[in-house]
């Protein structure tokens, strides 16, 4: 049931001890269900716990979200410049390979942001992801709403946006943070070979 990944995910939003018992509960409950049901439950609990953190300490979460967004902006700019994509993408939207390159840039930037924040978490003991996730979850329906208002006759545009937001934004961010944490948790090799 990939309980280690679920544990890493939930431990962004609660203590590792609590995350361990919650994953145990979800594994126990999901014995007869499929993987999809299990993961939907894991994500549901993660979302609820992230908003609970926000409710309990809004100022801290906003501060962490600001830090996360700053890191994201820096990483996105670096990856964008490194990719050689044009600064005014709408003029080049029909250039061959433009959209594929743009998706790669966005995915890489989010993965790298998650990794950077995950490393920072390991060093500082705080968790910027916990602030960033509720912010993005709120931004998600808002961005879809704006697209729907701007392009009411083009449902494909805003439906694609609705899917793209979590796939290209949130998931790589969390994946990057989990990879960073796993690297931190890896035991040191014995000295002297």
């Amino acid at each position: 049931m990939h309980s280690t990944t679920a544990f890493e995910l939930l431990s962004f939003f609660t203590t590792r001890e609590r995350a361990d018992s919650i994953v145990g509960d979800l594994v126990e409950e999901s014995r007869d269900g499929g993987k999809l049901v299990y993961w939907l439950r894991v994500l549901g609990v993660a979302v609820a716990l992230s908003f609970e953190r926000f409710r309990l300490a809004p100022a801290q979460c906003i501060g962490l979200a600001a830090l996360g967004l700053t890191a994201h902006g820096c990483v996105l700019t670096l990856v964008f410049v490194a990719s050689g994509l044009p600064w005014y993408p709408w003029n080049h939207a029909f250039a061959p390979g433009f959209w594929a390159r743009l998706v790669v840039v966005v995915l890489s930037a989010n993965l790298l942001t998650g990794y950077v924040l995950g490393r920072w978490v390991a060093l500082q003991g705080a968790n910027p992801i916990a602030g960033l996730v509720p912010l993005w979850l709120v931004a998600w329906p808002i961005s879809v709403g704006i697209k729907a208002a701007l392009f009411p006759g083009a449902p494909f545009t805003w439906l694609a946006g609705a899917l793209a937001f979590p796939l290209f934004g949130l998931l790589p961010l969390i994946a990057g943070a989990i990879i960073a944490r796993r690297r931190e948790a890896r035991p040191m090799p014995p000295a002297g070979g």
């Binding site: 609660t14 609590r18 145990g24 979800l26 594994v27 126990e28 549901g44």
Partner: protein, 111 residues
């Protein structure tokens, strides 16, 4: 002295479920108890968030059980209601009763 926030409805339900389950209260059993008593399927996320909040307020005391294979080798987190939690639930229930006292709702007079 810091004034205690009144308990919300779901917080009261969770505390009462933990009291009913005595030493066997953990995530799954609490959710099942709430469903059996109220017919309400509590969202897992809401339940775990509420348990964390009540624990933070000092109304619940956790105890870690033994890891079991059926749970992927992970331990249960059992809860018991603390003395402060019991006082909080009594206070909240008293407030409800005082508000209902002498009120007639849909032809039913609450004494």
């Amino acid at each position: 002295m810091k004034r205690q926030q009144p308990l919300g409805e779901f917080e009261q339900i969770v505390l009462l479920a933990v009291m009913r389950l005595r030493d066997e209260a953990y995530g799954i059993s609490i959710r099942a108890e709430i469903a059996a008593r109220t017919g309400r399927k509590a969202a897992r996320g809401a339940l775990y968030a509420t348990l964390e909040r009540l624990e933070g307020k000092g109304f619940l005391r956790p105890r870690i059980g033994r890891p079991t294979p059926v749970r992927g080798g992970r331990a249960k987190r059992y809860y018991t209601v603390s003395a402060a939690g019991a006082r909080a639930i009594v206070r909240s229930q008293r407030a409800y009763r005082q508000m209902l006292d002498g009120l007639e709702i849909s032809g039913v007079l609450h004494a």
